[in-house]
Subunit: 213 residues, 2 copies
DNA sequence: TGCATCTATAGACGACTGGTCTAATCAGGC
DNA sequence: GCCTGATTAGACCAGTCGTCTATAGATGCA
């Protein structure tokens, strides 16, 4: 009766465990064996689903960005909130999840970008498309926020919404990178504050419900 | 006559070639063999100078930050310029050198932070101290710039100079990371523009001589 | 039901590279 | 010539990615 081939199941299990392990240790530092042992998948199966470690990494990133973009989409369209509130909620979530190491909740873009971009052209392209789409989605919400008045018109002075989204995304990328170094939330708190500034918002009036700590 | 032991020479040669190769391919992806072959140092010698690959990585980062900080110090104290001009010169230089891959001019902080922080506590600490000192040095120049009036007082509203320096450094870290992905200068140009905004400078009036392109 | 066909699993295996360490060599002082 | 310490050569084994053969399972058709 179950028409979906087992294919998807095993393949996805390899991807899921791979994401956790590689998200923790990086791409080159992890061997296939470790992933396959953890996923309880024999080595022989691996090369049935993926033609090489590089192809696997490509699929890993594709899978990651697909689900990440879906989650982001949901977060940026949730009801009973202005677009500005949703955006700040997005970054508040980023801050709260990335500040210290949840094994599975790691951002693969932060973890792998530097390592993999010079290693595999194919993986680099996936990273490029993924980050591009995230930024485009953020830009869309920024435009909507300005249009509806939840963000001040003055943000337009700096440049297009796409430029602003690019800057903000990169700001958070860098903050996450440094959070890996410092292992505390200071970098992400700084990014959150700077986000207010770049959006021309009053830093003292919190638009969204922030966790005090 | 030459009292300095050859030690320093060989050791430094391993560090220099290691920096170029690891700066290009990452830490885990590069084997000692490759570095030692390039440096024309026999494999057996390696463990005379370094107790392990990790210790080597630690020394590599220490060496890198030492010279980087010295260069930065020079750049931020050069005469016939205001502190604001020097700061913008620092970032203009960053933009111009990192936008596409000079084999040896790579920023090891960008390249290795994500990969190494979860891999080696000792290397992480070196990264932490190094970035902290860079940020502190930037903060010092920001304060001096405000004091002398080459940066507007209004930057103080956002927070301390250290906070601002933190934000700016992270912004550039993220921009460099994304530049690795996109392989163009768009991310760094966006960072440069955002730097003006975060410093409350008029983006159209260029304080420093920028290269048009 | 029986047989053929194709997908998926199983893991041994090869060729190679990884970091590490012991044993030998070398240089210079006495 | 011997002793001492710095330097090097290469063995070592665990682990790498990827291949390959053999089995197991499902599906199609008769």
């Amino acid at each position: 009766m179950n028409m979906t081939p087992v294919t998807g199941d095993v393949r996805q299990r390899i991807l899921n465990t791979g994401q956790v392990i590689i998200g923790g240790k990086g791409f080159s530092a992890v061997g296939l064996n470790e992933i396959l042992k953890a996923a309880e998948v024999p080595k022989g199966s691996f090369y049935h689903y993926f033609s090489s470690k590089e192809a696997f990494g490509e699929a890993l990133l594709e899978d990651y960005f697909t689900t990440y973009l879906a989650q982001t989409e949901e977060r940026l369209t949730q009801p009973v909130a202005s677009n500005a509130e949703r955006l700040l909620g997005y970054w508040a979530h980023w801050r709260d999840t990335q500040h210290y190491c949840d094994p599975s909740g790691k951002c693969l873009a932060v973890k792998l970008a530097a390592e993999v971009s010079d290693l595999s052209e194919r993986m680099r392209r996936v990273l490029q498309q993924g980050t591009e789409r995230i930024i485009a989605r953020l830009a869309q919400s920024i435009e909507a926020a300005v249009a509806e008045g939840s963000l001040p018109q003055s943000v337009n002075i700096q440049g297009s919404a796409l430029e602003l989204a690019t800057t903000l995304y990169q700001l958070w990328l860098g903050a996450s990178l440094r959070a890996k170094i410092t292992r505390d939330r200071v970098p992400l708190d700084a990014a959150f504050k700077a986000t207010y500034a770049l959006l021309n918002l009053d830093p003292n009036r919190s638009l969204t419900q922030e966790r005090t700590q």
